[in-house]
Symmetry: C2
Subunit: 206 residues, 2 copies
């Protein structure tokens, strides 16, 4: 199978880390770099892969496409036997799925903030919007800082997702000071950075 | 269990339709209206329910919260026995999950377009952004128009999602002309409107 991705995408990084941890990376041919930037046409991708023009997208051998990264993570987990990074049943399953969807929303919010500040013409910048989006991600980090049990259980998709949020902050918001505000997340991030899956998928220099 | 919702939210409507079709509506107390508008503070909701400040959110009897609507739909389906609105296994499961996530992205894009045009101060409006977001939803409709098998199979979460996209277009973009451009979706929508679940959950007059 093939995966459309970009080295800068935190959503794609989440899947790359998951694929390495699940032992599936050698089954996935990475197609890079895919340009997935708002207000940029990409008719071919919109038609053949996803009308949302977002990455990552998994293209199976039979041509079927799986999006978005939330669904791809579940697909790869099942391919690896199930219950590896996402609990197979019970309340833990719904907690992990909820946390995973919150992380998706945090990343969405950070990207909206980034687009507001860097992509949008300066004269149309609405600072309150950018601040509001950033605050959603920040409040999400506070939520995980306050529940450190999430950080110490066996590796799961939530921990991988948190690493991708933190890596994206270092990449695009290097002065935000998350390490000082969230010391438990900082210790967690340092521990996670010892994994090859996390270390080798860092975003490129900004 | 309780569900935080707003009558105007297409994401919440999707869950309300699903709950009715699954026979679960009487188990859900709707908490309304929840204000979930960007650049509007809602510290209590952010802290107790979701840092993303989005609706819907399902609050279980034990106090645990399930978000977002993608996950709530899966939770309710499992509660109703599983495999009702989302196939339990096989390629059909991944196709429905993919289509469901595309519908989520289409609704996200329509809300971003709406916020750009109605919430953002006029002087900061970036028309290309609004058009680009709208186009994602439009291209998504074209995708479903081109695969009418999606519209004729037994009721599933994708069909419910499409109805919510179309209902939101009528509600917020009444002049977009989707009925003319997508005749198969129009026939599908008319058929779906005969269901009480669809008819009784229409958004309020704009």
């Amino acid at each position: 199978m093939k995966m459309a991705y970009s080295p800068a995408s935190p959503f794609a990084r989440k899947i790359r880390i998951a694929a390495i941890e699940l032992g599936l990376l050698d089954k996935i041919e990475l197609i890079s770099p895919i340009k997935a930037i708002p207000v940029t046409e990409n008719e071919d991708y919109a038609h053949k892969v996803s009308p949302l023009r977002k990455i990552p997208a998994l293209i199976l051998a039979d041509g079927n496409v799986i999006v978005d990264s939330y669904v791809i993570a579940e697909y790869l987990d099942e391919l690896a036997g199930g219950g590896k990074l996402i609990p197979a049943s019970g309340p833990a399953k719904w907690q992990v799925k909820t946390d995973h969807s919150i992380i998706q929303g945090m990343l969405d919010a950070l990207l909206l903030c980034r687009y507001e500040k860097m992509l949008r013409p300066k004269e149309f910048l609405w600072a309150e919007w950018a601040d509001d989006q950033f605050k959603r991600a920040w409040d999400g980090l506070a939520r995980f800082e306050a529940h450190p049990d999430v950080l110490t259980r066996p590796l799961d998709i939530v921990q991988i997702g948190i690493v991708c949020v933190l890596g994206y902050l270092d990449f695009r918001f290097p002065d935000c000071g998350w390490r000082k505000t969230f010391p438990k997340l900082n210790a967690f991030h340092e521990k996670m950075m010892q994994r090859a899956s996390v270390n080798t998928t860092l975003p490129p220099p900004a």
